[in-house]
Amino acid sequence: MRDLLAALAELRERLKEIPQADERRLPDLKTEILGRKAGALTRILARVPKLDPASRKEVGAAANALKREFEAALNARERELKHAATSVSSLDLTMPGRTSWRGGLHLVTQVVDEICEIFHELGFTRAVGPEIETERNNFFALNFPNDHPALDAQDSFYLDGDLLLRTHTSPVQIRTLERYRPPIRVVIPGLAYRRDPFDASHSPVFEQIEGLAVDEGITFVDFKATLAAFARRFFTPDTQVRFRPSYFPFTEPSAEMDVQCQICRGAGCPTCKQTGWMEILGSGMVHPAVLENTGVDSERYSGFAWGMGPARIAMSRHGIPDIRLLYESDVRFLAQFAEGAR
């Protein structure tokens, strides 16, 4: 019995080997101690029944306790090794992650959404209208004089009769004024068409965002403030803005809004043709004739309107040299501007 207890004590020392065993050594170690036939502890346990009852009890208890200890230690080590094999710290974390195809909105859509969102916060809802229009809505209700040089900049695609593809989104001003009563605050995204050949800086089909506010007591100050607020939100809060005279038949006074060139910050560069300014939108106070043409009392109501080209704004903001890139739809180009793209 003494020799068995000594053997158990000696065997207990081997518990210390377990935490050091690697995944190759551990199964062998397990076999050496607990192997069904030749395991050291198994052999000791096999001798227990032959002992006298008093010794049997003492040795048996000690051997079984040690067996449990071995089993626990071996299991713990096994789990430890298994965990180590799958743990993050053991991996080459520079290997690429699993991906899925990443979609994205067109850059122009993103800019349109951004602009509409800013105006939404300034109290404007979105309005839309058809791309096929009448001459009346596209020109005459907007106070374009018949046979006037102002029509030269509006070279139109004609369909049958007096139908044409709208040359701007402005006919939606007419539709809105005829359908709703003031106060009106709308922003109008959409496509417009002009007979310009497709080249680096022109597209016969292009996006426009129109805006219209009509109510009692709207002034030139409201007009300037709203559009300047937009520019400072869209560009940067410290962006300089200037307004200068222009001509549109449907606004009076008419104005062009420039913002400080975003490339050179006003110092002058090739993008802004050394002027330090970028032309952003055409605008003005709604011409009373437009209100009168749509049955709105021009003595009681006044308003302002504007129009801008999101494609052109996108090009200048993102440094895109050729407008055709926007419509060619090369997936490499589109993916550059997809959300989350690098």
Binding site: V186, K273, S329
Partner: protein, 829 residues
């Protein structure tokens, strides 16, 4: 419009900084596109005096000149080949090191053995003309060493103004100077004409920058209509007269409301004096001869187009202003035979048209070197008439450009008087009779009433009445108080100002838009609801982006696509002569473009407008209007997902089942409530069908011009519905456990999986929670033409736990129905 800085300075009587002028015009009148310095390339050229001329020792035709270059430097030797070089005269001189126009840098070099220290220059070498017969002799008091461009006064700037169509007054130097004077201060005064005998400037419109007298219709108007021979028309309107033997008849007062003729006899046509030629070249105009240059000078000074023609070529001699006869022909100045119509006004002699009124004269009647007597026309032609004529003939001129925008009808007498004075000064001759002025319905300056409080109410800032008056009068309006309002007389050169609000704009722009605050003030919310169309477009875009598609934008113009395509009457090209009826053809072209750029994995979508004429193009004329709606389309080709190193290099390409998934996804958002069903026509695929049977979408494989390495291409298109999916009602989540059973069935030919699912659902009822295909098999164990399809079925009762026996009973019910209705049996293993 190009204006010359020097020319403006002559009108303003002071020097101006071109940048400052440009800024002032941009902020108060019209945008300046560019400021171009002229002749800067001649900055190295000096004025030099030739002090001695000797013969070149080795060349007969060369001279050796001793030249005083000024600046106290000793004279230098210059070899010169010009025959006209003379001792004591002054010439342009380029010293060694000077850079000449064209970039040539002058070096010291030997010419026939003699060293030449620079070069004396001809007009051609200076880039100032074609004359290369000799060096340019200068008539200047400037001492040698003065910069050439300073001595001869050709240093100048062109200011390029983008004049809007409503501001014809800015199409001349006087008008631009008026704006500058109003903002920068000063007055505008026409400069005296050199050689006109020191006469006072023509016309009574000096000091235009300042406050004006109240004008009247007769004020400053030339003698008119009372001359001998003047005749009155039926309505008493003066429509004809005789001036210096020329019979003038105005038969088309609608086309030419005011028509003036002067006759100058005994001119000598030849080159213009230098000052006149310089004025025209400074704004990019080519000098022609003294008479034509004089009329062009007045055009660019006063915005009054004039036409000078040869009296000797006038049959009659008569000038008849009438509507052209249909088919009448005229050979215009540009040697083109043009056919006139009755919508045009023609200026004719006793026999035939000599001028297309306001647009272009004929080669025949033009002033030439033989011309002795000149007939000078000063007219106001009706703007829309000119515009239609110009467009119909496809020809335009500086004159037509101005007539189309409206010239100053009231300023004509002053303009013609100054023109006569100028022609006599530069070409000699004599005006023997006063100008004939045919003006059947004389007009006065327009009066507009302006309410000062309206100015404040529209501009949002209090503006004193006195400031309004002062701003308006600075650009030639005359404002007089009339009760609570201002009666404002509009000068003839401002045809754009027709109502009160136009005056409000004048006040705002002259004050300067930047002078108004831009503080956000409270506003009332609008009554217009946010457009459901935009919301629907945003929903479907968002869904497809999340599914990994990139948004494309293609042009809506293209080739015809079936009989219902909408045609454009005036297309840019045959390939872009129609409006798209569908988005898919355009997207296929974009896929091909991507393939040509070696892009293989492509998933594009577009949300855009499509058009059609119901019943086809032929029906279009008969009142069926084109329709338009928003369509959503997608195309997909290439790998199903990006490859990952852990799964091997090759990822399967997308197939018809990827298409079905994306089509169902798009249809669910774009056309809520629609069902996706298989179709056999059109090469097979699926259609999205609304409850009422309307087909609103299609999906299938696409034909394209594909390179061999490309994967198969698929696409779908759905008509976008504005209807939003109704709010989803909550269904209680069952806490009872589900029972899962697999069911392998043998389907005879012609039976579809869809039918099987339908029968199972109907026969088993709501306790069959889910039924899903997980396998399809054809093989020797299955009868020919048959296939085995395996379903994974989930049974669940929301209120109690299903037992094995319950499920067996349910399954049995389903199998009985399948056998009965479709001949489908369980597969025996």
């Amino acid at each position: 419009m190009i204006v010359s800085r020097r020319w403006l300075e002559a009108l303003l009587g002071r020097s101006i900084d071109p940048r400052e002028a440009a800024e002032c015009l941009t902020l108060h009148a019209a945008a300046v596109d560019a400021v171009v310095p002229l002749h800067q390339e001649l900055g190295d050229v000096l004025v030099a005096r030739v002090v001695e001329v000797r013969k070149h020792p080795d060349a007969d035709r060369l001279s050796l000149c001793l030249v005083d270059p000024g600046g106290g430097a000793p004279p230098v030797e210059v070899v010169c080949g010009a025959p006209n070089v003379q001792t004591g005269k002054v010439y342009p001189y380029a010293p060694v090191g000077a850079v000449l126009p064209g970039g040539l840098k002058l070096e010291r070099k030997k010419i026939r053995g003699v060293e030449s220290n620079g070069m004396l220059l001809s007009a051609k070498e200076l880039g100032l003309g074609a004359d290369h017969s000799g060096i340019l002799e200068l008539d200047t008091a400037a001492p040698p060493g003065t910069r050439f461009i300073d001595a001869v006064g050709i240093a100048d700037h062109q200011i390029v103004i983008d004049v809007p169509p409503n501001r014809p007054d800015l199409l001349c130097h006087k008008g631009v100077a008026r704006e500058l004077a109003a903002v920068l201060g000063g007055t505008v005064k026409l400069p005296p004409i050199p050689g006109a005998g020191g006469a006072a400037p023509a016309g009574g419109d000096a000091a235009l920058g300042g406050r004006r007298r109240a004008p009247s219709a007769r004020d400053g108007v030339a003698a008119r209509a009372a001359e001998p021979g003047a005749a009155a028309g039926p309505s008493g309107r003066v429509i004809s007269g005789v001036v210096d033997g020329v019979d003038v008849r105005l038969e088309d007062p609608e086309g030419a409301p005011r028509y003036m003729i002067a006759v100058i006899r005994g001119v000598r046509v030849g080159p213009s004096p230098q000052w006149l030629a310089d004025r025209l070249t400074s704004i990019g105009q080519r000098p022609i001869n003294n008479v034509v240059d004089a009329t062009n000078y007045i055009l660019f000074e006063l915005n009054q187009p004039l036409h000078a023609f040869d009296l000797a070529r006038l049959r009659g001699p008569a000038v008849i202003v009438r509507r052209a006869r249909p088919g009448e022909k005229i050979v215009t100045l540009d040697s083109v035979i043009r056919t006139l119509t009755a919508d045009m006004t023609a200026i004719c002699d006793a026999e035939r048209p000599t001028i297309v009124a306001g647009v272009m004269g004929s080669a025949e009647s033009e002033v030439s070197t033989e011309t002795k007597d000149v007939v000078l026309e000063c007219a106001y032609f009706q703007p829309t008439r000119i515009r239609r004529t110009r467009r119909a003939l496809g020809v335009s001129s500086e004159s037509s450009y101005r007539f189309e925008r409206g010239i100053d009808m009231l300023g004509m007498p002053d303009a013609v008087r100054r023109a006569v004075e100028l022609i006599v000064a530069v070409a000699g001759g004599e005006q023997r009779e006063p100008v004939l002025d045919l003006w059947p319905e004389p007009q006065q300056e327009r009066t507009i009433f302006l309410r000062p409080d309206r100015v404040t109410r529209l501009l949002g800032t209090a503006i004193e009445r006195s400031e309004t008056e002062q701003l308006l009068s600075a650009v030639g309006f005359f404002a007089a108080p009339k009760e609570a309002r201002l009666a404002v007389q509009v000068p003839g050169w401002r045809p754009d100002v027709t109502r009160e609000v136009d005056l409000v704009e004048e006040v705002a722009r002259l004050k300067g838009y930047d002078a108004f605050p831009d503080e956000l003030r409270p506003y009332r919310p609008g009554t217009v609801p946010d457009a459901p169309e935009e919301q629907a477009r945003a929903r479907v875009r968002d869904r497809l982006v999340r599914a990994g598609f990139l948004e494309a934008r293609t042009l809506s113009l293209g080739p015809p696509d079936g009989p219902e395509t909408v045609a454009i009457r005036n297309p840019l090209s045959a390939e872009e002569a129609h409006l798209r009826r569908r988005l898919l053809p355009g997207l296929i072209r974009r896929v091909e473009f991507n393939w040509s750029n070696r892009n293989r994995d492509i998933r594009l979508f577009e949300v855009g407008t499509v058009f059609r004429v119901p019943g086809g193009e032929r029906g279009a004329g008969s009142g069926s209007l084109p329709e338009e709606w928003t369509s959503v389309a997608g195309v997909l080709t290439g790998a199903r997902r990006p490859p990952h190193w852990s799964e091997g290099a090759k990822v399967p390409d997308m197939d018809i089942w990827d298409l079905k998934y994306h089509f169902e996804l798009a249809a669910a958002v774009a056309a809520p409530g629609s069902l996706v069903q298989p179709v056999t026509e059109g090469g097979g695929g699926w259609a999205a069908v609304q409850q009422d049977g309307e087909v609103v979408g299609w999906a299938g494989p696409l034909e394209a011009d594909a390179p061999p390495w490309a994967a198969p291409l698929f696409g779908f298109e759905v008509r976008l519905s504005m209807i939003e999916r109704s709010p989803v009602a909550y269904r209680a989540l069952s806490v009872r456990p589900p029972v899962e059973r697999d069911l392998a069935l043998v389907l005879p030919p012609g039976v579809t999986a869809g039918q099987v699912s339908d029968v199972l659902r109907r026969a088993v009822g709501p306790l069959l929670e889910r039924v899903q295909v997980f396998d399809e098999y054809r093989g020797p164990e299955i009868p020919p033409g048959h296939r085995s399809v395996a379903w994974h079925c989930t049974y669940r009762d929301p209120v109690r736990t299903l037992r094995e026996a319950d499920v067996v009973a349910l399954e049995k019910r389903g199998l009985a129905a399948l056998e009965d209705e479709l001949g489908v049996r369980r597969r025996e293993v």
